[in-house]
Assembly symmetry: C2
Homo-oligomer: 318 residues x 2
Amino acid sequence: MSWVGIDLGGTKIYAVVFDGTKVLAEGKAKTPVQGGPLAVVDAMAAVVRELGPLEGVEGVGVGAPGVIDPNDGTVQQAPNLAGWMEPFDVAGALSSALDDLPVAVDNDVNVGTLAEHRLGAGKGADNFLGVFAGTGIGAGVVLDGELRRGPTGAAGEIGHMIVRRGGRLCGCGGRGHLEAYAGRASMERRARDLEHKGRDTILVDLAPGRRMTSGVFVKALAAGDAVAIELIDDAVGALGVAIASCVSLLDIALVVVGGGLADRMGPSFVKRVEEACRADVFPRNPDLRIVPAALGDRGGSMGAALMAAERLSGAVAP
Amino acid sequence: MSWVGIDLGGTKIYAVVFDGTKVLAEGKAKTPVQGGPLAVVDAMAAVVRELGPLEGVEGVGVGAPGVIDPNDGTVQQAPNLAGWMEPFDVAGALSSALDDLPVAVDNDVNVGTLAEHRLGAGKGADNFLGVFAGTGIGAGVVLDGELRRGPTGAAGEIGHMIVRRGGRLCGCGGRGHLEAYAGRASMERRARDLEHKGRDTILVDLAPGRRMTSGVFVKALAAGDAVAIELIDDAVGALGVAIASCVSLLDIALVVVGGGLADRMGPSFVKRVEEACRADVFPRNPDLRIVPAALGDRGGSMGAALMAAERLSGAVAP
């Protein structure tokens, strides 16, 4: 018995066939930037078709960015997907495009956290926080062994926790949010802004007219670029502060940090976040551990398959 | 059937006999500042004796400051009680002093939150946060109808959430914590410091050689004192930021604000906190409400009695 898991990202669609232990097939495609939700659904269906015959596949899980209605799986809005500002029934549309295979949808960060909980760095932990730092930042909150989605599905919006009152402007319009310091998109905005104001940096040269990827930050950091060092320092500090606040509020002793930025930066980045955080947690908890996610790029799609298996087979949801 | 509830505070011990609906008797005494835990237990026993004959009383609940071990009710440490730096078995000692009446102990903020949940402004809410701002600041976290204490009993330490990275020094040694801006003790420290540096304020005159109570801040504010206005503005802003972070993380739509400072300041203070918070919450939740606690000074002792009733009678704990 196997399940298709799809990680729907702002730039790419990544899909696997997963039997709960092994990835049996995988494929990817660019996320369409035109055509809105319908084009995205068509692209997802095409990737799934390319995985091979769907015999033996019980259903499909999608991890999507944005706020997902926990009751019906509707994607309410997905600011990182072009033209997706209205609620859309992804499950219904994708199921129609795939000969009525059942489809379940959840938030991308939630399925990433689920995968780390079942198979990765959070395996066996009753209480932990899965923090994913990429273009934006989100968290999955596992309490007493269960993923907490919250009454409106918005739990875990750690990217918009405030680390500095009145601080740097966030993409959402708020000020001093974690994402304004440690989200890749905000870091790129800040880098271009600093260069425009006369600061010397290779960050912009490394990403001329295209997205400043996490890999670009890693390269500039390795080259000793002062602006990159400053931006990464800010990101580490902000992640430390926000995670410390979560730990203080929820009495959690394990935090798993993944996502594009953390994955590319490597374990030393997560180690620095741990050090920054430890100083700020009250009461001091000697058992607190902040560790890198174990599943990397494939965690999201594997988690989407696990989520589908648990939801669609009638087993207890995570 | 009735229960004794004791609110053990840094300055006073407040006790009630409570039948779950009506307060049948009440009494109070100063909290001893010498003699450590044993003197405090003796003082609690004396207040209980003065409530009248204990026939019909099924047991005693204590809401104590500090970190309480959720398994055995030991008070691990209570920084706001003099000479109490080691774990102490309050339940055992108080029970011995009261003819072996059963005694249950929980954190003061948890029992305050329980009272608001059962009888006050959080009545019937499945998910809410009880925030108590007094000498220090703590919160009770109710998720899916149950109070969340956390694996080590330290959940709800909202006073040490960070509202401004690298900001004002907190009593715990950390920086930029909520309590450093909105805890009465820190506000007093700051007021004396500003006066010492030459700022003109009546706050110090109103509290010569004694504690600068919440009432003193209310008086100075009413008199238009610039330092008091500034300190209260900071407290409102910091509470708004910390509560917004909690709401973003946990997807909670109701926050009840109580404690000495909020109670004395009145509903307009809580209204200002709501306004400060609303601007910072993501995603915007039109249903978010921040309201004053309903039970005032007696909430803690009533909650302690409710906690004892639920724990000692074998009913489901909150």
